[in-house]
Symmetry: C2
Subunit: 239 residues, 2 copies
Amino acid sequence: MSDTTPKGAAAQVAGKPCILCCAITGSLPTKANNPAVPITVSEQIESSHAAFEAGATIIHAHVRNDDETPSSDPDKFLALKEGLEKHCPGVIVQFSTGGRSGAGKTRGGMLLHRPDMASLSVGSNNFPTRVYENPPDLVEWLASEMTRYGVTPEVEAFDLGHILQAIALHKAGTLPGKLYVQFVMGVKNAMPADEEVFDFYAHVMATRAPDAEWCAAGIGAQQLRINEWAIAKGGHTRA
Amino acid sequence: MSDTTPKGAAAQVAGKPCILCCAITGSLPTKANNPAVPITVSEQIESSHAAFEAGATIIHAHVRNDDETPSSDPDKFLALKEGLEKHCPGVIVQFSTGGRSGAGKTRGGMLLHRPDMASLSVGSNNFPTRVYENPPDLVEWLASEMTRYGVTPEVEAFDLGHILQAIALHKAGTLPGKLYVQFVMGVKNAMPADEEVFDFYAHVMATRAPDAEWCAAGIGAQQLRINEWAIAKGGHTRA
Ligand SMILES: [Zn+2]
Ligand SMILES: [Zn+2]
Ligand SMILES: [Zn+2]
Ligand SMILES: [Zn+2]
């Protein structure tokens, strides 16, 4: 939950929270915007603990520097993981590899701490004010690191092509473990929250990757509609 | 035609050639790869002339530097346009604004020469070895320059989100003139040549932008299949 819950970016699908990478909100929430935003690792652990007690089964985790800017510091990720395992026994820990522009391989530097899952983008797209850059060689490298450390990726799909790419990479053996895809909608200059497109996404998953699981997340006001679509159209839950 | 014909990237749809921006081939063809590649402005004019006599009604134009690297030189674009108007009377001249990474506003520096049309990307995506970067502020600026100089854009859509973005921008008045969309498929790490997706694209255009025209282009071996789909599924021709 951590950073995204205060912005309302978590989509609860039949008991499974699907958490949208906060990177897409553009300027990240800070204490100045919202005093409830958990910034330190201890705050994130306690915020996640509350979510866990409310039924969350997966925690999507970012970490921050002391100045509240986004961090990829592997030590902070390790401390967060250890805290989550202690306070939220059995929870699925998912590290974010969502990137700031140009961050490159530092985006995957925490994978050696072997979280259960990690988010993975397999294509590029526009965000409200910039390009969300996921060049092919970085995608390949992140997937190989996840394979190396036994981390199951969850693909954040911002467009139809990303879904097809995820299925193709999974078939090719590039993505380890079971295939998980999260549809992300409602981000300005990326895919809007569109029910017909959502239905097509669900159809593509059902027919081309029947063993995969998918969920969906939206931004702000779109979130509740997208939750309803996901529940109605067969978004999977994690047992 | 110019640069792309020798690579076979032109999709002829019921008499209307839809030319795929050669930028997506990654490394551009040079004389060293293929002696038939037209490089100089005079060679491009003569190659276009031949295509025109064979029935082409639109010429998608790039220009090159003397060392065969891609150029955005407005003077070269002007010389090409003047040559095309003389050798191919009545042909529709379309300038490419397709970009090399990071080229920024130089990509639109030739629009002041008022071609009939210009290609426009409205989103970002992956190419075989890199990110095809079209950040929102550049898209907005290119569209405003096209509006200023009376140039009709043709949107090169590499994913479903680009089609929806084109329709939204056209409705908002950001894209001048009639809406033209070209579906581009078969580029590695972008949308594959997929008939079900093609059908969905055509359905989206027919229901959401019934006054628009669309065509389709593929890469290499995919080109003939995509031509057949476009003809079968109602890709428009330019009168
Ligand atoms: Zn995230
Ligand atoms: Zn606790
Ligand atoms: Zn081109
Ligand atoms: Zn001639």
